[in-house]
Symmetry: C2
Subunit: 309 residues, 2 copies
């Protein structure tokens, strides 16, 4: 699946993933009203609104980008009904030819981590049939529990030719509280990165590993070092746009081949219609077209980062 | 809710939480057959079997213990249907008067962490009604992302009088890979524990904080130090039984008041009927009675740990 992701990034000339992190406050009133009218002003109605909203964005952007990254928390927030909307979103995006990065940040130990891996990127075999509980191609994984937590994901990903991105240095302001602590003069995130590079060797694609890393756009200096520690690991870069990252600062995340990183934007794309410069041109009923324009603009902006010569 | 948990621990004289981590291989054949016959040999049938299995264990142990800890991975493994069984299990255990510790190990940043908190221990307000997507009383939280990841949980827990246990030192063999790294001569898990003690001050119950910690039974020496760093934080102790922890070694996790820790056993209780010494006395059809006997035995064993004089 990493080969597939790299191929699609090249084909679409866009190292971009659209973060599908819907909040009810992003969703235009007319979608909410139709959904609540059909299913009630309850969790089911809210989940329907999220799904309809996502569908609009996927329909307007799928030809431009290689992948989407639904953030499961925004669905889990609405319980079982929300998680049904998560699955429906993944399935629909897949039908449209997109790679699905499930931003689930799971991590546990042994059979428990394996259960998460099976649930999201694996299969449950019952009798003669195999079932895919959820249907992502990649998941994000939290490394705090060590190899015991990560290896079961690698095992399942190998069987299914799927992949993962392991949290190394996250984009948020307080990520340094633990991640930057110095161990023999080196920050913890570099020690995690050493491990990611090593785990990555266990599950290589053609050029890049199926095991990638998450490094926030908000920390480009650290990104530069981490790019070198993990030359064969794809880096998923959150924190572009709303969190402050800009294309001109992101060159450090890419390798000389112009590959090696995929940049996520969530709010900046899916909620573009509410913000300048899009709010002037697009009303709520054009939210999906606004998201398309935001992708086109991001594509241009990112060329400063990955086109190297 | 921490006051409620402490009260129930005292009433039942049992600092024990039953880990509801069902695997299909634990479930007696007759339950599987009935469930598959009713719903098909599919994810729905598997989820039904898990729910029926859990119900039997809850019915046979609820009068002995203060709490249950369903491990969500074991349900998420079966997708939306599995998560419905998770919710059903939580609701049923709550009806039986048990405190619910959702072992979800979630952690993200800002509004995303808040969405997880709302989903598991909070409420979604839609119009005039509030909905509880899932219905735990406590959740486990992964601290790798720092305060940005934890504080949204504290905010929601304060509103709802609910609580959390933050991963400090996990019970697995490779937990030391990152958690034991020395920072200025102190292991990272102690630095996390400093923070847990500090976060705990923001949300105190009568004697203990609503913010607790997870420290594995498999590391009693570290537990001794961590007990002192976090005197007002309840410690959830996994790793008893199947993972190697024993009552006589667990005294260090308790305070002088005989409180301050709650010990989890999962396989050792819910799968007791398959193992010595229970397998000789209990067949598959008595799996729930075997779990009751395992709780009674654990209760006796733990007295060595918390009765101090």
């Amino acid at each position: 699946m990493i080969n597939e992701l790299v191929k699609k990034i090249k084909e679409k000339d866009a190292p971009i993933v659209v973060g599908l992190d819907p909040m009810l406050s992003y969703i235009p009133e007319y979608i909410l009203e139709v959904s609540f009218a059909a299913y009630g002003r309850n969790l089911e109605g809210a989940a329907e609104a999220i799904w309809q909203y996502n569908k609009g964005i996927i329909d307007c952007t799928y030809d431009l980008v290689p992948a989407v990254k639904p953030q499961i928390a925004m669905y889990e927030q609405f319980g079982v009904e929300g998680l049904r909307a998560f699955k429906r979103t993944c399935n629909y995006a897949k039908q449209k030819g997109l790679v699905i990065i499930g931003d689930v940040k799971r991590g546990d130990i042994g059979s428990t981590s394996e259960a998460y891996a099976i649930g999201h990127v694996g299969k449950v075999v019952l009798g003669k049939h195999a079932f895919s509980p959820f249907t992502e191609d990649f998941v994000t994984v939290n490394p705090y529990l060590g190899s015991d937590g990560v290896k079961p994901f690698i095992k399942v990903c190998k069987e299914e030719k799927k992949g993962m991105f392991i949290l190394v240095k996250t984009s948020n302001p307080s990520s340094g509280e633990f991640q930057d602590q110095l161990v023999d003069g080196r920050p913890l995130y570099e020690i995690v990165a050493d491990k990611v590079a090593q785990w990555g060797q266990d599950h290589m694609g053609d050029e890049y590993s199926y095991v990638g890393a998450v490094v926030g756009a908000t920390y480009p200096k650290m990104g530069e070092t981490l790019r070198k520690i993990m030359p064969n690991n794809y880096i998923l870069v959150p924190g572009y746009g709303a969190q402050g990252g800009q294309g001109k600062d992101l060159g450090v995340f890419f390798n000389k081949d112009g590959l090696g990183a995929i940049v996520n934007s969530s709010r900046g794309i899916i909620c573009a219609y509410k913000k300048a410069p899009y709010a002037e041109r697009f009303g709520p009923e054009d939210y999906a077209e606004a998201s398309r324009q935001a992708v086109l603009d991001m594509k241009e902006d990112l060329k400063q980062a990955y086109i190297k010569d």
